[in-house]
């Protein structure tokens, strides 16, 4: 599974999923922490829609962690102060980068988590769509 989709599912989904996958790796492989989870900033680059140019909107606090498995690096990055999640994400990233056999079994779990995320998102969308205005033309 590509990194963009994988990280979105792991961050939007239950933290239990990332904890479970990371634990699976920790019980079998040696994981070396290269960079402890620490806070830093990401500058957000935005495209404005009036002239479609780029500018910097501001910074976002993130937690970042780097680990190594079998000499292969993995990075965990997440918005906010989330040291445990950043560590787990780094382990999962390293596992995918190192093509560990465990990762072959993870696709179904991640896809089923994606379904749950979509269901929760749909429920939220339906609530928001209840605030949509239904204009009716008045007879004057």
């Amino acid at each position: 599974m590509i990194r963009k989709k994988r990280t979105e599912i792991l961050i939007k989904g239950s933290p239990e999923v990332s904890a479970k996958l990371a634990q699976e790796i920790l019980t079998v492989h040696e994981v070396t922490t290269i960079e402890e989870p620490n806070n830093s900033l990401v500058m957000v680059k935005v495209r404005e829609s009036a002239q479609r140019s780029l500018f910097y909107l501001g910074e976002v606090l993130i937690t970042e962690c780097k680990v190594m498995i079998k000499g292969i690096l993995g990075i965990g990055m997440i918005k906010g102060h989330e040291p445990v999640l950043a560590y787990n994400l780094a382990i999962i990233d390293a596992a995918y980068n190192a093509n560990l056999p465990e990762t072959n079994e993870w696709a179904n779990l991640l896809l089923s988590e994606e379904v749950k995320i979509k269901e929760a998102c749909e429920a939220l969308n339906n609530k928001i769509l209840k605030t949509k205005v239904n204009f009716a033309t008045m007879d004057v």
Partner: protein, 379 residues
């Protein structure tokens, strides 16, 4: 006159800081940061926007420490921000990718995807709800449960992650000039001192981190007195934007190899300004120009005011101070303006003594002159 070094304030300062803590705690109630985060959404959004640092938890702590003063909370956030390394830049965020929670247009009744009111104070009576004085956590939990269980008729299949932009509709209809993407790297006002004339990216960065009150007031000045503009909000949308960071070990920066790191809530406004344009034929035609506003969180007034000021600064009419980039951009930053005003409280003993000496000398000179002139009048 030379400078005189003095000491002796340390104990007084320590006691003053104790008094400050006493003022915060004197009612023997401690504010829970989670409760601030839960119940002070708009203040948190304002503080994050003005400090240019997105993190609700930090903003809640800063608000607690500042006893609810936004300027002090912003100062704390900016100070903390300066201790952190900036390790990454996000991939370009496109507001078309927003998961919309509220979206309205004052220009068109019927917009593709519809007018979605979302959460807003606009439709409330603005009467104080005295029941809130007795509100409990248990009631809140019950209300949330009941709200979640309310029947939702799942007939509207509008995709809130892919709502078309009103501006695009106008561009496609030929009512606005089409516009190519400008991919030049933006300037960064946090890295380089501002030089005039500024670039568009610098102007937008300063406006979005401007103090809400200042941006609103100067925007209001532009509407009411200096230029007497009356724009129309083409589209105001509030929602969440996904953030992605490129893989630092992949120089090709492939989209699919990026890291998703979470989402941020923003308010975005596109404003339309009708303008009379003199054509070559001598005829006058009305055309629209645009203003753009965006800020962290839900802060609609600030985003609309920003769009007005964006248009003013792009126009640059020398008749009006609101069109002067030095006038606007150098005076709307919270830390800069409150800091400069506050510095007047700091000891100015030497400079003031110097002024006092001058006053005394000139008074003495006047008295001497008066005496001389009196002697001349009364020899």
């Amino acid at each position: 006159m030379g400078y005189v070094a003095v000491k002796g304030g340390t104990l007084a300062i320590e006691e003053s800081i104790k008094r400050l803590k006493y003022e915060r705690l004197k009612k023997r109630v401690v504010l829970d940061c989670h409760k601030i985060e839960g119940g002070m959404r708009c203040l948190i959004d304002q503080v994050m926007s003005e400090s240019s640092l997105y993190n609700e938890t930090l903003a809640a702590m800063a608000i607690k420490q500042a006893e609810g003063s936004p300027e002090e909370a912003v100062f704390l956030m900016r100070a903390y921000r300066s201790t952190l390394p900036r390790k990454h830049y996000s991939r370009t965020v496109e507001s078309e990718d927003m998961l919309v929670e509220r979206r309205i247009s004052a220009s068109f009744k019927d917009i593709p995807g519809g007018q979605i009111l979302g959460a807003a104070n606009d439709y409330t009576h603005r009467l104080i709800d005295f029941n809130l004085n007795e509100e409990t956590d248990e009631e809140a939990v019950n209300w949330i449960r009941e709200y979640a269980l309310e029947n939702v008729v799942d007939q509207d299949k509008t995709d809130l992650t892919n709502l078309p932009k009103v501006l695009n509709y106008l561009r496609e209809a030929g009512l606005l000039p089409s516009c190519e993407r400008d991919n030049r790297e933006p300037d960064d006002v946090t890295k380089e001192s501002l030089q005039f004339p500024t670039s568009r990216s610098e102007r937008l960065q300063i406006l979005t981190r401007g103090q809400t009150g200042a941006v609103t007031s100067i925007g209001y000045i532009a509407l009411r007195s200096y230029g007497a503009l009356h724009p129309t909000v083409g589209e105001l949308r509030i929602g969440k934007l996904p953030l992605h960071v490129d893989n630092p070990f992949n120089e090709q920066n492939e989209d699919e190899d990026a890291y998703y790191i979470g989402e941020i809530k923003v308010t975005e406004v596109e404003t339309l300004f009708p303008e009379d344009i003199q054509k070559f034929t001598g005829q006058k035609e009305i055309e629209f120009s645009l203003g753009y506003g965006i800020c962290y969180g839900q802060n609609e007034t600030k985003a609309i005011a920003m769009s007005i000021l964006d248009h003013c600064l792009e126009t640059g009419n020398p008749e009006y101070p609101t069109h002067n980039e030095e006038f606007v951009l150098l005076h709307i930053d919270s830390v800069e303006s409150t800091g400069f005003i506050s510095h007047l409280k700091l000891p100015h003993y030497v400079t003031f003594q110097s002024k006092l000496d001058s006053v005394r000398k000139s008074k003495k000179g006047q008295v001497g002159q008066n005496m001389e002139s009196n002697e001349e009048l009364n020899p």
